[in-house]
């Protein structure tokens, strides 16, 4: 029986047999039984957590007065008068229904039998008198660092004061000196341009760019670095790289992913959100505005239709999450809300709020009430995910935002959808329902307010049918900052107020979390090692004062400009350190916690593919247009591969959940099921196999070979090898390399003679093998 139904039963029983429950029924024998059997057991086993002296009152239940015991706690009334088998108290003592009391060990059977007997007797109880107030629980938020206000710390004065370039360097150097360490040398200019180009755009510099920069650096030093950095920040490739970092946080994907019943509908309009994010980073949209648009863009004023469209698309942030199937799932609506709370919680605040759906957070100061305060905001919000491939068992179809400025793009002439919905009863194909919009109407996923916003009621144990108290819509109580903690305009969902609360410069988490994300992508690890968890189980910052210093600058003088923050960090001396260092430094700080050197990093999945295309000369730097699935509202698992060949940058590939682009899949792509602020870096044999055998790498190697050989047969082999090294590794060959590559080509040519009699084709084949070898080197995949 559900708790709700039980509650209703209890109420009606109570009405009918009220007299049994009255004090008149407490005869002497009953009182004696209570005093001899029940009171001692309550005192011994229950009062610790369920009395006025409890340090923290369990389940809002007190058992030390007659009235409180009858009233019950958050799960409802403890006893059903005269009916032990229907009493929650007995269920709990019997360890049924997940209500297991006492929690450590069940009471002996005879004691439980006494309680049952007592309830059957009408629960006689002499403990009358006014209830005594319970002391509030201990407030852990006063102690944990990340909930404290960000304060501008003093910049330290390290001994080697002239080493520092930015205040950042003073913090780093002071900590190194305290650890008895000294930073390694500055990185050579050839290394620095590769690092900067990769970090800021995800691409490699051309050999010409390297040469020009090295020359400029020799003459102008840091001025040259500044020029390079400003050029890179201004290039459209910047947004494609940094936008992708945010898309990991936003758990961006273009399909729902397995709904639990193996169905995976496409999200044909999700790509608009991708483009919005890339554009926002290229425009350097201030971060406070950026998050506000994503949470409440639909509620913000817009000067024109273009701005209106953009802000509507931004709210796709809340709609692109993976949903569990609707079928048989009474909690579906709450599951959608839960994904939104989890994404805002971990993504923007670095705090896992989601556990509080079912219980007060076990370790972080996030009470269940806070969860439902936020849940009320999102329950008052309508989420527009679209048709979900016309399968109501996965998710009921919703409206979508209709854009005004975006172009109407119909499917290409002659396009016929071949993947049709399957009738879940008969298993037979059924016709594709006609869209309510004209073909090609520009649509976007997103959110809008419901007509009648309302506060949420606590879902006991996370079940939407077991309702507890209603909680005013609001924000996290744990964050130490002045001002409102609840929504003031009851006529709105409260999203705009939530966004503005998050975007306050004095919010203890927002600026710290984003600063740490930026640091992570530039230095290979965060000042806080767990970018999505600033809670009690997350890592403590290695440099707390530096984190605050940067957060203050970011939300203050920099006006939340991500480009300004990146610029300051990459121009620091710390960022420009070499990645090699003497053994003593490495041994003293193997994880580079103190940043005495720069961490070497493997390229991520997107960068590996982009740079292979760059090396082969095939990379198309124009932005990708839409998506391979923009006209296809279908089930991915019925469709075979939906991925299309493309020479655009990887960020424009089709990111389907459970069906990632095959050129990216081996290299630790996140699954997009939750916020992923930091990617894994594995070195699985599957990656070696990709480099050795994948059709993509083989094909690009051929193209590169063909391009080299197009220079004509008169070119010497050593010159070809040198050019191949320049194309792939963006540097001049070093001694022996050219000879080794040429030797491979000659061996290959000899071995392939029986397979390919045509000398021209054979030469191309052999060179393709050598080009592939270069693409497979560690040097190609790692950045110093």
């Amino acid at each position: 029986m559900s708790h709700l139904r039980r509650l209703i039963t209890l109420v009606s029983v109570g009405l009918l047999v009220g007299s049994v429950d009255g004090s008149a029924a407490d005869d002497k024998a009953g009182i004696a039984f209570f005093e001899s059997k029940i009171r001692p057991a309550l005192v011994k086993h229950c009062y610790e957590c369920h009395s006025k002296d409890a340090k923290k009152l369990g389940g809002k239940l007190r058992l030390d007065t007659r009235e409180d015991l009858r009233k019950g706690g958050e799960s409802g009334a403890s006893i059903a008068a005269g009916k032990p088998d229907e009493s929650l108290l007995i269920h709990a003592l019997r360890w049924e229904d997940n209500l297991e009391m006492p929690p450590k060990e069940p009471l002996p059977e005879p004691v439980i039998a006494d309680f049952a007997k007592w309830i059957a007797m009408g629960a006689p109880d002499p403990r009358t008198g006014p209830p005594v107030p319970v002391a509030p629980p201990v407030d852990t938020r006063t102690t944990h660092w990340s909930f404290q206000p960000v304060k501008k710390p003093l910049v330290p004065e390290p001994k080697a004061g002239d080493w520092a370039r930015d205040p950042v360097d003073r913090f780093i150097l002071a900590a190194l000196e305290t650890a008895g360490l000294a930073p390694t040398d500055d990185a050579p200019p050839e290394t620095l341009i590769r690092r900067l180009t990769f970090d800021l755009t995800g691409l490699a510099p051309t050999p010409g760019q390297v040469a020009a920069y090295v020359e400029d650096f020799r003459t102008h030093g840091q001025r040259a670095v500044e020029r390079l950095v400003d050029d890179l920040l201004a290039s459209p490739q910047f947004g494609e790289r940094w936008g992708r970092h945010w898309l990991d946080v936003a758990r961006y994907a273009e399909s729902n992913g397995n709904d639990g019943l193996s169905r995976n509908p496409t999200f044909p309009h999700a790509w608009r959100y991708r483009d919005y994010v890339i554009q926002a980073f290229n425009d350097d949209t201030p971060y406070d505005r950026f998050i506000t648009e994503q949470i409440a863009g639909d509620l913000m004023p817009a000067e024109d239709d273009a701005q209106r469209d953009r802000q509507l698309v931004a709210t796709g942030f809340l709609a692109i999450g993976s949903k569990p199937a609707k079928a048989m799932n009474e909690n579906f609506d709450m599951d959608v809300v839960d994904d939104q709370i989890a994404t805002v919680g971990s993504g923007i605040m670095g705090i896992s709020v989601a556990c509080a759906r079912c219980h007060d957070h076990k370790h972080d100061p996030i009470p269940t009430r806070d969860y439902y305060a936020m849940a009320g905001i999102f329950q008052s919000t309508e989420t527009l995910w679209g048709m979900a491939a016309y399968e109501g068992l996965t998710a009921p179809s919703t409206d979508l935002h209709v854009l005004k400025v975006a172009q109407n793009v119909p499917p290409p002439a002659g396009f016929v959808e071949t993947v049709v919905p399957i009738d879940s009863n008969t298993g037979k194909p059924r016709a594709i329902p006609k869209s309510k919009w004209p073909v090609g109407t520009p649509l976007a996923m997103g959110v809008r307010d419901r007509k009648e916003p309302a506060d949420a009621r606590i879902n006991l144990k996370g079940e939407s049918k077991k309702l507890g108290d209603s909680v005013p819509r609001g924000f996290l109580s744990a964050c130490v900052m002045p001002g409102e903690k609840t929504v003031t305009d009851g006529a709105q969902s409260g999203r705009l107020e939530l966004a503005r609360w998050l975007a306050r410069p004095d919010h203890p988490l927002t600026a710290r979390v984003m600063t740490n994300r930026v640091w992570l992508h530039l230095f290979g690890q965060g000042l806080v090692g767990t970018p999505d968890d600033f809670g009690i189980y997350g890592d403590e910052p290695t440099h707390p004062a530096l984190l605050d210093h940067l957060a203050v600058r970011f939300a203050g003088e920099m006006g939340w400009s991500v480009k300004s923050l990146i610029r300051a960090l990459v121009l620091s001396r710390t960022y420009q350190l070499d990645s090699t260092a003497d053994g003593a430094l490495v041994e003293a700080d193997p994880g580079n916690r103190w940043h005495g050197r720069h961490l070497r990093r493997r390229l991520d999945a997107e960068a590996i593919r982009d740079r292979i295309l760059q090396a082969s000369g095939e990379l198309d730097l124009r932005p990708g247009d839409g998506s391979a699935i923009r006209h296809r509202d279908i089930m991915v698992q019925l469709a075979g591969s939906l991925h299309q060949p493309s020479n655009h940058r990887s960020v424009y590939l089709c990111y389907l959940r459970n069906s990632p682009p095959p050129e990216l899949a081996p290299f630790d792509l996140p699954d997009a099921l939750g916020v992923a602020g930091r990617r894994e870096t594995t070195a699985l044999p599957a990656q070696s196999l990709f480099l050795l055998n994948s059709p993509f790498v083989v094909e690009q190697s051929r193209i590169l070979a063909r391009r080299l050989l197009a220079a004509g047969s008169a070119v010497e082999e050593s010159a070809l090898a040198a050019e191949a090294i320049r194309s792939v590794l963006a540097r001049e060959p070093v001694s022996g390399e050219v000879e080794r590559a040429v030797a491979l080509v000659r061996d290959a040519d000899a071995q392939l003679r029986s397979l390919q009699p045509d000398a021209t084709l054979r030469r191309e084949w052999a060179w393709a093998g050598a080009c592939q070898a270069l693409l497979a080197t560690n040097e190609f995949r790692y950045v110093d």
Partner: protein, 449 residues
Amino acid sequence: MNPPVSRRHLLRSASCGFGYLAFSALCQQHALGVGGDLGDKVARIPARAKRVIFLCMSGGPAQLDTFDYKPQTGNKKHPGSVFQFSQHGESGLWISELMPETAKHADKLCLLNGMHADTGNHAQSFHQLHTGDRLRKRPSLGAWISYGLGTENQNLPGFVSLNTAKPQVYSSAFLPTVFQGTPVGVNGEDMSKATIPNIRGTHLPASLQRRQLDLVQAMNREHQSRRAEDAALESVIESMEMGFRMQAEAPGLLDTSTEPAHVLERYRVGHSVSMGTCKPSDFGRQCLLARRFIEAGVRFVEVNHGSWDQHANHRRDLKANCEATDAPIAALLEDLDQRGLLDETLVVWGGEFGRPGLTPEDGKNETGHNANGFTFWLAGGGVKGGHVHGRTDETGARAVDGKVHFRDLHATILNLMGLSPNELTYHYEGRDHRLTGPEGGRVVTEIFA
């Protein structure tokens, strides 16, 4: 991460092959960590098993309706088993009607009915089951074993994870990445077709591909020699070799079409049960692949089925989960036995926790999580067959006798493999880590055959 000296040592030893790498890593690590005699200690423990197949039942399988028989003992009904149980084999083990095929192998099973864990939270308990730690990124059991013993086959990784969940469960974490599990198929993928992508290349003859890889590795070594402090680069060089060598054997192993029809039928290959929480996993093909990988010399194979988290429709979904796994497991046990492999192959069955029982006839059909008492079973690999170790109380609510925590299970598995569980350590970030954690685990010697 280690001081550079040990990594250089590793790199040199890498040329001697994968197994040697693991062994030398072990000795080297030990020399750094606890004084130089672990090699001896490792050698001194006799190995009862050579390999492990872990049948990972994610979601919390209901032990009271499968292997932990709780009949009604009084007048008043209490939570217990709601399916029929009967005794099987010479040992008379009580097994439920939901596992008729597995029950035929009752005399091979060693039931651990007193399992307990720290938390009823799926993600954390699943993580602890695999790594010993609930929260942090730590090496998985298979990675530890692979690290301790290497692989018996140079052409295959020591650790293969089928139908795997998240990378954390096959992660090598701070251990060298060569000990990481190789995933074949991830949750949600169609396991009947799951393979290792790009395992075959046709663009170059094999000898030429080797020649090509030699150039790659020569450049990699040169690159690495200028960056001697970076352990990751060494692991990548080794991983490159492993990928290359896998091409020789993995495609054949993954191709189950060469098995006779009656074998495929026995394993129920291609039969997928989909009902409620029970997700299609082609568990039969997983079990068959597990046998084939084990035969080929892989140390640790994990297969996965789920979810056993049948909150809402306990009876229906539990039946489906049992139906999906029962016959394949029986076929696996039978084949291992017939081929003489069971003696040295430890088969482990269980999930992150169990479930409380239902009370018969009260009409309820929902179950929650129970980490206080649940069941694992072991078979082969030097443990007693037809044996029950440990016990839960009358209602199955908690383990009361012969209690075995995950760290004790880990210690027992390592010990059976000939690895000293509390001394198999790896030095990382300033201290020695081990699978059994700071508390250490107790080896359950009572179950040794």
